[in-house]
């Protein structure tokens, strides 16, 4: 498998993403932002489609899409008349629908499948560089923000008196979620990338009673899911992104059975 340069590049991509997205997922779950993670990844579809239309790198489209999705989610969540969940659901469905409409119009090249499910085996050197840079940025920011993120999630009421303003750090986490989503979108697609964020983290939080080991375990499980998924894809001739997502989702199920 490793003799194949395409698979080697995909492996490098998924390992880089795993090291950032695994720990990011732990924070997302601890801050109860799993819905936001799914919403953001789905909501950036219009950005991906517009990038495909314009012929620019997908990572740029993902960045624009994530920005619009984050803004729409933040605005919708604040509308007390309809409630946060309903507001976010409406905003994300609208964005996803708009993305699908754009993608299905006759003028667009037939790349909807790639945008939804990613193209791990078609990752370019530029994609790899972009993913690497973004993943390092997410990992470094998470390490620097470890304490205020922990305070904000653990004891929201007392956090300000201990030096962490929860609203500010929750917003910072959403920004990092957006960056992580952008990094993963070209490889794993709008629909599947959330699996690598949420599933290994869910398993890690079942397996560990302490925060630091949970973060490390999540990174390890995400990497394992990446390697296992690519191996499954290579030997069983399955779609690479979907195989990685399936392996990631298996982690919390196995962890649940084991604990």
């Amino acid at each position: 498998m490793l003799s194949d340069p395409i698979t080697r590049r995909a492996l490098l991509e998924v390992l880089i993403l795993a090291l950032a997205l695994g720990p990011l997922g732990v924070w997302v779950l601890l801050h109860r932002q799993a819905y936001a993670a799914e919403s953001m990844s789905h909501g950036l579809l219009p950005g991906l489609v517009l990038a495909a239309l314009a012929g620019v790198p997908l990572v740029l489209g993902a960045a624009g899409g994530a920005l619009v999705a984050a803004g729409a989610i933040a605005l919708a969540a604040r509308d007390e008349r309809v409630g946060a969940d309903l507001g976010v659901a409406v905003a994300v469905s609208t964005l996803f629908g708009a993305g699908a409409l754009l993608a299905l119009s006759p003028e667009v090249p037939p790349r909807l499948e790639e945008l939804l499910f990613g193209d791990l085996l078609g990752i370019s050197g530029a994609d790899l560089l972009a993913a690497g840079g973004l993943a390092v940025a997410v990992g470094a920011a998470l390490a620097a923000a470890h304490r205020p993120l922990a305070l904000s999630a653990f004891d929201r009421e007392a956090a300000p008196s201990l030096g962490a303003a929860p609203a500010r750090w929750e917003s910072a986490l959403l920004v990092l979620l957006g960056v992580g989503t952008v990094a993963a979108a070209p490889g794993l697609g709008s629909l599947l990338l959330v699996a690598l964020i949420i599933a290994p983290a869910a398993a890690a939080l079942q397996l560990s009673r302490r925060l630091a080991p949970a973060l490390a375990i999540a990174a390890g499980l995400a990497a394992l899911a990446g390697v296992g998924g690519l191996a499954l894809s290579y030997y069983a001739d399955l779609a690479a992104g979907a195989s990685v997502a399936m392996c990631a989702v298996a982690a919390p199920i196995l962890a649940r059975l084991a604990t």
């Binding site: 205020p148 922990a150 653990f154 004891d155 939080l205 925060l211």
Partner: protein, 241 residues
Amino acid sequence: MTLVRTHDLAGGYRPGTDAITGVSFAAEPGEVIAILGPNGGGKSTLFRALLGELPHRRGTVELAGRPAYVPQTERARLDFPVSALDVALMGAYGRTPFYRRLDRTPGLEALARVGLEAQAGERFGELSGGQRQRVLIARALVQDAQVLLLDEPLSGVDAPSAASIEALFEELRGEGRALLVATHDVRQARAWQRVLCLHGRQIAFGVPGCLTPAVLQATYGGELVVLPDGTSAIAVEHHEH
């Protein structure tokens, strides 16, 4: 040196809607002040104002340093993957740069002071309610503040924890700190140095002797129940904030 002084403090969460008005009191070193009042009477709002977290505040607040705040234990996440020591050490987060490793010694010492040194490695969510409350107090001790704001620290805790907490209050008093304790326990409040009664506005502030039936009636209104023996009790319905 006065550790807390407010003058005509007022404010709330929305402009034009005051949750407290006319609060003027002072806390000296070595004083425990009971903050009495019904649910929604302004106890938590007063704490938010003292912490500088009330969105709309008028009047003056003078504080000797940043106070430490001890919330009710059920406000903390029980499913969060942290040990008792991890929680105690959170008290040092504000003064430790993110790149510097935390010194575990203050956390262990604080846990020892609340009688939980042996539970340092136990998961916070698996401790009893009283033990969790003591861990949160240990976190405030690590903050090393001169003023502690405690939100119903004795409410619903087991007897050994309550005894440990009350003994600790005496120790902290002896160290010259001031403790502001929100409570519904009038009998307990009478044992402390000062009482501050709130019902949206300040009803009374002074030595416990000021807790006359009229003051209690003005403070608690319909929640005050007069028992057959002539004493009074507070009918409290706990609510989620």
